[in-house]
Symmetry: C2
Subunit: 430 residues, 2 copies
């Protein structure tokens, strides 16, 4: 019998097929047993009629534990009352593996228990839907860049030096040397932009931050585009176009998942460029009016970002932060050297920062001065400063955090559910 | 004036445009200066006529160092004699940044020198072409899986335990614990397959091998699909279909790059499924006839793989290795428990292994026995063995090494040129 996936049921109506899956749950009414069957691509109700089976075997099916592996052969019929619109009229049910008592039951479980069982929790409908959206967010980001002439240039994970300062780095012995795990591929993307014009990297990045907030992971994925001959203004246009593309792609391809996650779709429909732009000073004014305890001159904290991003329906682009709170490679605003030519994009509804970016310092002397000021090892940055010796051009880029973007688009509270196997300060298992 | 990219020159014939790029090289004949301009998307010859410029400025242009950043405004005209088929008749040339003397000249350089300058070497035509093919290999792999119903499930980089034994692991302090950098996402993909049916991960993996061969990097990228309800035979069909798709995609989209790299395109045209299949025993026969010093019962070494892969025009699938030389999670052949239900795919022309895969042990007791035999910490594998407690099904998968695949498809000798910033035992910079 032809094996089909539940997601393809519509193409096999009134056909006899085999579906290979697992028992998600079941109910039993007299001579009928209804098995909600899942195969990873969807769910279908299998209707098992006692009359078609040996009595003992029917009883065995009734007792099957959740997540037992079964093969069901039968006819797919259209049924509007059924979840998904189809039903499988079972002629044969083969028990492939009887599960032990499944630890994740319909009752409430604490988050630590669920995370200890992440390898099983992924089978739950909500987690399944969340990670399917994650896949689409990643695909959309790559497609957007590929379709716009960007070249993928993977940044290294092992680096000889720190990109954004030496704190919060994971370190490893590297034969006779020490290596650090990358915090960002940006510096390498600058080299890439000079070679390919427009580039991006897409990979895991690492920060050993002792943060237990709902926005922090020690291991998270970033997409980082970088463009040669590009200033802050053009950088911001790329950023808003990419966010628009990703949001609309998810809206168009994940309606089922977003509905299951009870996401308000109208909030995503409004995510169209252009996005509002305000300066750091204007943002500070908003915070003052909202009675935040924000101190002018500091970077915004998570609560400040929440306030700011609740003020707008679209992602908010905040520019011109004080140079002191930003990384050494940021170009200063020629009209006001105290300010950096940078942009943070804050997702609406209080989700906060999803993108950080800006124009990079392209003047060799200025850059060397910053490296000295930040007490960074000049020798380790020799290659990076070379980019200002051989055909230096204005260039800009940004990094978009995947987990934060997924969290926002799916309306999820905590980034830890937006990655298959989250790593936090207190979690390294499974 | 509209800025255009060189790759789009054909769409702007007889139009006045600005191209922003770098001086790749130049020649000077009397009143004419020919600048080969590169912008990362391609090359175009800019023709600069002395009569159109101030004499001193023309002299300055003649003296411009390689890789200086310039903006050239002028008319794009069709010219069959020119590289790329177009020429730019310069009306204006703006020097944006005069480069210092460029270290990479047309003369021969040693590999260590070039690798020390990898951040600049990427600008060279050959390296540029190689990495553009890499981008397409990655895109094709993802597209193939996305189009065939696979869900992307990113595997974690930090792991609490070793997947393929405890040697060759990079280790890092993880707050109060120790973490290891992943050698393979496979075990996590097995959990993913039970949740989503068909999954893949795509990310960097790490091996602290003290190997200085042309096939080894300490940091390399792998794509790892895993399928539930899938045996070795179906696994092999997925593997050959994916390799065919990637090879044909590269052939169709990278003809310019492959030609520049002097790749024999006819060798890639033959890469169509099905691929030849032989067992380990049959492979041993071939090696014996070739007078290899291969010892029956051992794993194949790189020279053995070279001999085997030279025997066939297509990738070669070798199955049923002795279980003893394969990882603990491999399912044994029920007809001969000394053999594993595994497959290695060896690329032709002597390139050797690009894929390793097989069917996984799905029986709980067997798996627990193997974990004990391999002296692996049972507790760290609790989650992994859980997959055999709750709806265990036959499942299989494989991992394809990106750098080895790029090396083969481009006809390159060493994997270190198939990744933007290679990491080897002796290289961590730039």
């Amino acid at each position: 019998m032809e094996r089909v996936y539940i997601a393809d049921a519509a193409e096999h109506v009134d056909q006899n097929v085999t579906i290979k899956g697992w028992v998600h749950n079941k109910t039993h009414k007299g001579k009928l047993l209804f098995i909600m069957l899942r195969d990873g691509t969807g769910m279908i109700q299998a209707v098992v009629f006692k009359g078609n089976f040996d009595e003992d075997y029917f009883d065995e099916l009734i007792r099957l534990a959740q997540e037992s592996a079964i093969l069901v052969t039968g006819k797919i019929v259209q049924d509007k009352r059924s979840k998904g619109g189809f039903e499988l009229q079972a002629d044969e049910v083969t028990i492939h593996h009887e599960a032990q008592e499944y630890p994740i039951t319909p009752k409430e479980h604490g988050i630590e228990f669920l995370m200890d069982h992440r390898h099983l929790w992924l089978r739950s409908t909500k987690q399944n839907a969340l990670l399917k959206v994650r896949h689409k967010v990643i695909k959309a980001s790559r497609d957007f860049l590929d379709n716009n002439g960007f070249t993928l240039v993977d940044a290294p994970i092992f680096t000889p030096s720190a990109c954004e300062g030496t704190t919060n780095l994971f370190e490893t012995e590297y034969f006779d040397a020490q290596a650090y795990l990358t915090q960002s591929g940006q510096l390498y993307m600058e080299a890439g932009a000079m070679a390919f014009g427009k580039v991006y990297c897409f990979g895991p990045t690492f920060r050993a931050e002792k943060s237990k907030t709902r926005r922090h992971l020690t291991e998270f994925w970033m997409v980082e585009p970088e463009m040669a001959y590009c200033d802050l203004q053009e950088d911001m246009i790329w950023a808003e176009k990419m966010v628009e593309y990703v949001a609309q792609y998810v809206l168009n391809t994940c309606e089922k998942e977003l509905t299951l996650l009870e996401r308000d779709l109208s909030k995503l429909e409004t995510i169209k460029a252009p996005f509002p732009r305000i300066t750091y000073d204007q943002a500070a004014e908003i915070l003052k009016k909202a009675n935040s305890d924000f101190v002018y001159g500091d970077d915004f904290g998570a609560p400040d970002e929440t306030i700011l991003s609740q003020e707008f329906e679209k992602p908010l682009m905040v520019t011109h932060y004080p140079a002191d709170v930003k990384a050494f490679y940021m170009k200063r605003d020629p009209d006001n050297p105290e300010r950096a030519l940078c942009v943070d994009v804050l997702a609406p509804e209080g989700y906060g920062e999803i993108i950080g970016g800006g124009q990079r310092e392209d003047n060799l002397d200025e850059l060397l001065k910053r490296i000295k000021e930040h007490e960074l090892p000049e020798e380790a940055f020799q290659w990076y400063t070379d980019l200002r010796r051989y055909g230096s051009v204005p260039h800009s880029g940004f990094g978009m955090g995947i987990e934060r973007t997924v969290t926002w688009l799916t309306g999820t509270h905590h980034v830890r559910e937006a990655i298959p196997f989250p790593r936090t300060m207190t979690r390294l298992y499974p």
